[in-house]
Amino acid sequence: MAEGKRNPEEDGSEHVPQWAMAIDLDRCTGCEACVVACSAENNVPTAGQEQAAMGRAKHWIRIDRYYEGEFPNIKVKYRPVLCQHCDNAPCEPVCPVYATYQNAEGLNVQIYNRCIGTRYCANNCPYTVRFFDWFAPEWDGPLDLQLNPDVSIRPAGVVEKCTFCAHRIKRAKLDADAEDRDLADGDVQPACVQSCPAEAMVFGDMSDSHSKVSKKIESGRSEQLLSELGTKPRVYYLRKAD
């Protein structure tokens, strides 16, 4: 057996985690703490009032609102929407320079350095979670003083999107290696998951049947967004059956 690195499989090969997220819509209050946390964590630039009104704002995670019923008996439902990290991602094959692909751990990764900005991926994403950098990044002060050194700044002219906080996954692996132990469930927490006051979001390894995220996915309450398109998202939404 390989030395005690990262959950070895029975045949001795290294276990490759399959990252997934579960979001409990019955818990989500629509507070948008995840949106703020994500922007701070991932150095997502601010667009400014005018540009935001034009549709140039970037939110790697957003809260979609749905209204049910007729006035005055309206119920508001919230749905946080981020990159769904599809197993069968429509954004991937259309890129002419291979700037986006699915890695072994199921992350749909975007290589900013390789992107030439055709924006085809953004068009072909049915969730519209890919964002183009219209200008070189700027932050209103004092936000420019809190940039995260673990996350690269995107230049003008490329497409960016949620990474499932890939840098936090990397950090958790490094920490586990340093302590000579396996990655444990809950070691990796993307910024949105960590900041959710209602604890509506769970992140983890869906190939580990004991992980919290696996249990949520298997709870019988889970569904995938636009599942009829066959994109096989890694984000599962949980809600009470209607």
């Binding site: 540009q51 034009m54 549709g55 140039r56 957003r62 979609d64 609102r65 929407v81 429509p90 094959p93 259309v94 890129c95 002419p96 320079v97 291979y98 390789r114 992107c115 030439i116 900005g117 055709t118 924006r119 085809y120 953004a122 068009n123 072909n124 049915p126 969730y127 519209t128 964002f131 183009f132 950098d133 219209w134 200008f135 070189a136 230049p155 003008a156 002219g157 490329v158 497409v159 967004l225 636009l226 398109l229």
Partner: protein
């Protein structure tokens, strides 16, 4: 249909004199036109530079409409490029005698439209300085482009088409270049002599040229159809609502030939008027092209009807979001304008024989060009404005940059054409020479 198009009262040698004498001189009017179109092109280049320097955000593009005027123009110009080569190749292969004064004008349109249309993917991308990453070239990091991407197919198809149509324009020019060289002296003679590649007009050379032209005509037909199919695949390979359509490739090819003929009619009308080619470009040429235009108009209507009927009858929610946007409000006005321009107006003007004249055929050409531009606009923008999730819906309006660049491309077309007719005879002289052995 009249078997030949040459003016009966002129002999072959006097036709050469006549056509060559009609090539424009550097008169005040000519230079003013060059200056005007050159200024518009320079302004468009400035706008492009401004966009590169100060950020893509200066355009009107925004989420979720990531493709806008640039892609509309791209499809439009690549579409018109089918004028040329395709029409000239069909007429050459079928041996249509009336093609003689038409072919070179058509072939030149193809080359210039491809040069202009081929620029749009570059103008459109976020980091144009890395455009060459789309090209498979050996590099130390063993990086390849993505062969699965329709954009890569596009690059391949357009470069092939541009190369092919350049050769196809050049081959029939060779005897005329030698003719000009023979009539001039000094530096001019040396340039044209070099361009004519040692043409002497021997039997062997004529046979080789005929063979080469026939081969290129056949190759170019296949390439032209594939090019606009690939342009259609840019849309139909995606899963965006109403783009994911099986008939897009033939629909686009039909639209391309349609707009190509329209452009050819307009260019011919302009040449006839400005260069005094009334004896060569005669009513029968316009009427023949008008009939082709009418046929393509009906085909276009058939495809448009099929496309919209199936979307509407299928009634899929995501598709209907786009459909409803496209048939109502602002886009509804655009839609019915398109139908009027592409079908109603040409149908009346070309269908009623009493109305059919050079003027009305030219008007039909103009309305079809407008209509086909609008068609591409209606394909690109409404779909992107209405993605599946309503929270992401949005709108688009171009900024001065897109408008300037769009205007600049029309000026570029005029400019390139003006320069071309000054340097080369726009009507193939040798086609009128019946002493040529291979004919």
């Amino acid at each position: 249909m009249a078997p030949s198009g040459e003016p009966t009262e002129l002999s072959a040698s006097s036709i050469s004199d006549d056509i060559l004498s009609r090539m424009p001189r550097a008169s005040g009017r000519y230079m003013a036109a060059i200056g005007f179109f050159g200024a518009v092109v320079a302004w468009a280049l400035f706008a492009w530079g401004y966009q590169i320097q100060n950020g893509f955000g200066n355009t009107g593009l925004r989420r979720p409409v990531y493709w806008g005027f640039y892609i509309v123009n791209f499809v439009f110009w690549i579409g018109i490029s089918h004028a040329g080569t395709l029409i000239s190749a069909i007429l050459r292969l079928t041996g249509a005698g009336w093609r003689k004064p038409v072919t070179r004008a058509a072939e030149a349109i193809t080359v210039f439209c491809l040069m202009i249309g081929g620029l749009f993917p570059l103008i459109h991308i976020g980091r144009v300085w890395y455009f060459y990453w789309m090209i498979p070239y050996p590099n130390e990091r063993l990086l390849w482009p993505n062969f699965r991407s329709p954009l890569f197919w596009d690059l391949t198809a357009i470069l092939t088409y541009l190369t092919g149509s350049l050769i196809y324009l050049y081959l029939p020019l060779i005897p005329d270049l030698a003719e000009i060289a023979g009539r001039s002296s000094g530096k001019k003679q040396r340039i044209y002599r070099a361009l004519s590649l040692g043409w002497t007009g021997s039997d062997r050379q004529w046979q080789a040229l005929e063979r080469a032209m026939k081969l290129m005509a056949m190759a170019i037909l296949a390439i032209a159809v594939s090019v606009h199919s690939v342009v259609a695949y840019d849309f139909s390979m995606s899963i965006a609502p109403t783009w994911h359509s099986t008939i897009f490739a033939p629909y686009f090819v039909v639209g391309a030939i349609f707009s190509g003929i329209a452009a050819l009619v307009l260019v011919m009308a302009a040449l006839r008027k400005l260069m005094g080619l009334e004896e060569y470009l005669r009513e029968e040429h316009f009427v023949n092209l008008g009939k082709l235009l009418m046929l393509m108009s009906l085909l276009w209507l058939y495809f448009t009807f099929s496309e919209h009927l199936t979307t509407w009858y299928g009634n899929l929610p995501y598709e209907m979001q786009v459909f409803n946007l496209r048939e109502q409000g602002f886009f509804g006005i655009v839609f019915w304008t398109m139908v009027a321009c592409n079908f109603a107006i040409p149908f009346v003007l070309l269908g009623v024989s009493r109305l059919r004249s050079i003027a009305t055929i030219s008007i039909s050409g103009a309305t079809v060009l407008i209509g086909m531009w609008l068609e591409r606009f209606l394909i690109v923008v409404p779909t992107l404005s209405r993605p599946a999730l309503p929270a992401a819906w949005g709108n688009y309006a171009p900024s001065w940059i897109e408008l300037s660049i769009t205007a600049g491309t029309f000026a570029a077309m005029a400019l390139l054409y003006l320069l071309f007719v000054k340097a080369f005879p726009i009507i193939a002289i040798w086609e009128y020479d019946e002493t040529i052995p291979a004919r």
